[in-house]
Amino acid sequence: MAVTKTIEVALSTTGLGPDGRPIRIPLGAEGLTSAPPSLEPELEGEHMLINIGPQHPATHGVLRLVLELDGETVVRCIPHVGYLHCGFEKIGEYRQYNQIIPWTDREDYLNSMGNNVAFALGAERLFGIEITARCTVLRVMAMELSRIISHLVWLGTTCIDIGAFTPFLWCFQERENVYKLLEGWTGARLTTSGSRVGGMIADVPSGWTDGLRAFLRQFPKTLDEVDRMLTRNAIWVGRTVGIGVMTPEEAINYGLSGPMLRASGVAYDVRKDVPYLDYETYDFDVPVGTNGDVYDRFLVRFEELRQSVRILEQALARLPEGPVDVDDPRVILPPKHKATSEMESMIHHFKLVMEGPRPPIGEAYVPVESPKGEKGYYFVSDGTAKPVRWRIRPPSYVNLSAIPRMVEGHLLSDVIAINASIDIVMGEIDR
């Protein structure tokens, strides 16, 4: 007991030696090579319950994690979600199809353009509409640009969580460049509401493609810089390798998708497996990890950024001329000058705005590869202008549900890294 006392005092107050210098206890000194005796033996084996969030910078929003700790090791993790719940799906049942599109901006708000397009794709399946060739390519651009935004935010915030600050600034600078492009196209940075059933809010303005080309020239250079900064960085590797491992079988069974699933070695990418928007005609690779840890998730997302650049370059090269909106009077408004000068067009305009387009009775689910994973909108229509059911398949909700499995047995500090690696957006989880 007396020995314990000495160590306790020595560790807590270093004090000064007889020569006036601070007393240092060398690490790994004799008696400390094995586990040190517990300073408070009555607490041995007792677990501590700690609470992270909902207001905590490392929970990326309002996630709350209740952790049961044995020392610093997580024994059990109980996540609590729902702090942002505002009933998007209920509201969607009271809105016409085009009126729901602004809500899709606000669920996964880092990927708003991608959500808009995913929504339009689902609704068009329900209406039986085939979009135009120009619209298809524009939508590919929209989806890949929002993938870049989302992955950049993920990368920047994860760097901060793990202790690097500089890549965050580089990432957010590039993200601002993409937002400038989106703002030029839709008029808004975050809440783009860029798509409509049967088309887009507008064609891209003249000169927009030059801006995109300039971005694609300079963006890979930033990526290279971040690559040099992180990929072989000892701290980064030490904090991420071997942390939060999911085996491929587990990952599939837990319903993980997107980079989370691919980092575990499952080559499932909606763009390849259930293609949409002619993704099968683009030449791009799907990066797949082999270790299923946080480091592999980083590598997968990082490579996806480069692949998005490839897809965007191909899309720019093939962007055809022609109309953006489909020629279908069920969903597309007549030209404004006709609506103000011709009786029939005015009635058409009035009925479309007031009553809304009516899809046939049926249901449709069109998955897309959002930055977070497989996202899809499931519509059930009873033939009226408002869906009976509008369901969001939220990838980060399902990905987050595996966090108790991923963190158990890890240290408290690894919980932050694992949580960051899931790439959650609470707007999408709580909806």
Binding site: K90, G255, V274, Y365, V380, L411
Partner: protein
């Protein structure tokens, strides 16, 4: 833990799992899907052969096959779909439910399944009559897919459907002692049981525990003690946004 020290970052731990069958043609973006009809998922015939009477009608809508199954046998059918080497529906996409506006069609519980190895998509549905006599219960598929955990909890939270066999069926998006009901049911008004002003008044009351207690919010209990105008509005069902 100790894993970090033990392995070389480059060494593969898992073999890559490829989707699709070797030699199968690459999937393409679907074009001109028929509204009704079209080719049904081959799993349908296999299900009929294996389970016979438990498989009800089916539909092919916009290219996706929907199969209605007997609600008591959901877990059994799911287990078979997951395990059978000719089906291998190893990926649970979604669990949700649909209630129709007409009040006649039963509530439907919907499972979206995907087979990564055969690149198939299947929609299973089980019908739950909302006559009050039938308990809103279906077997849980948590034992088959762990991903069902939160999806079933959300479905319970929003529709009140109990998934029998789920290990921890609590509300997830709403708080655990929320007593107003199940928001995605059609008899739930868009604004909730109380207007915004009433919710605010209740929340700001001097003693929120007595004014806004969860028991009080259980509308069935509180209904008699509500003011006349509120009772009238709630009795007629608040129609907001329609």
């Amino acid at each position: 833990m100790s894993q970090s020290a033990s392995r070389d970052p480059g060494a593969p731990a898992f073999a890559v799992v490829h989707t699709g069958q070797p030699g199968a043609p690459a999937p393409k973006t679907p074009r001109s899907l028929p509204h009704r009809g079209g080719e049904a998922n081959p799993t349908l015939e296999a299900l009929r052969t294996r389970f016979g009477g438990a498989i009800g009608r089916h539909e092919v809508v916009w290219g996706d096959t929907t199969v209605y199954i007997a609600r008591e046998r959901v877990a059994e059918i799911a287990q078979w779909l997951h395990d059978d080497p000719t089906q291998r529906y190893d990926y649970l996409v979604d669990v949700t439910a649909v209630e129709y506006r007409d009040g006649v069609r039963p509530l439907e519980v919907v499972w979206h399944l995907r087979s990564l190895s055969y690149r198939r998509f299947l929609r299973l549905k089980a019908e739950l009559p909302t006559d009050g006599a039938t308990p809103l219960e279906v077997p849980s598929v948590w034992g088959v897919w762990k991903g069902a955990d939160w999806l079933e909890r959300e479905c319970y939270d929003m529709f009140g459907i109990r998934f029998v066999g789920h290990p921890d069926l609590r509300r997830i998006l709403l708080w655990e002692d929320y007593k107003e009901g199940f928001p995605l049911r059609k008899d739930f008004p868009l604004r909730g049981r109380f207007s915004r002003a009433e919710q605010l008044t209740n929340a700001l009351a001097a003693d929120p525990e007595t004014r806004y207690s969860m028991e009080e919010l259980s509308v069935a209990d509180a209904f008699e003690s509500l003011p006349e105008d509120m009772r009238k509005r709630l009795g007629g069902g608040e129609r907001v946004g329609e």
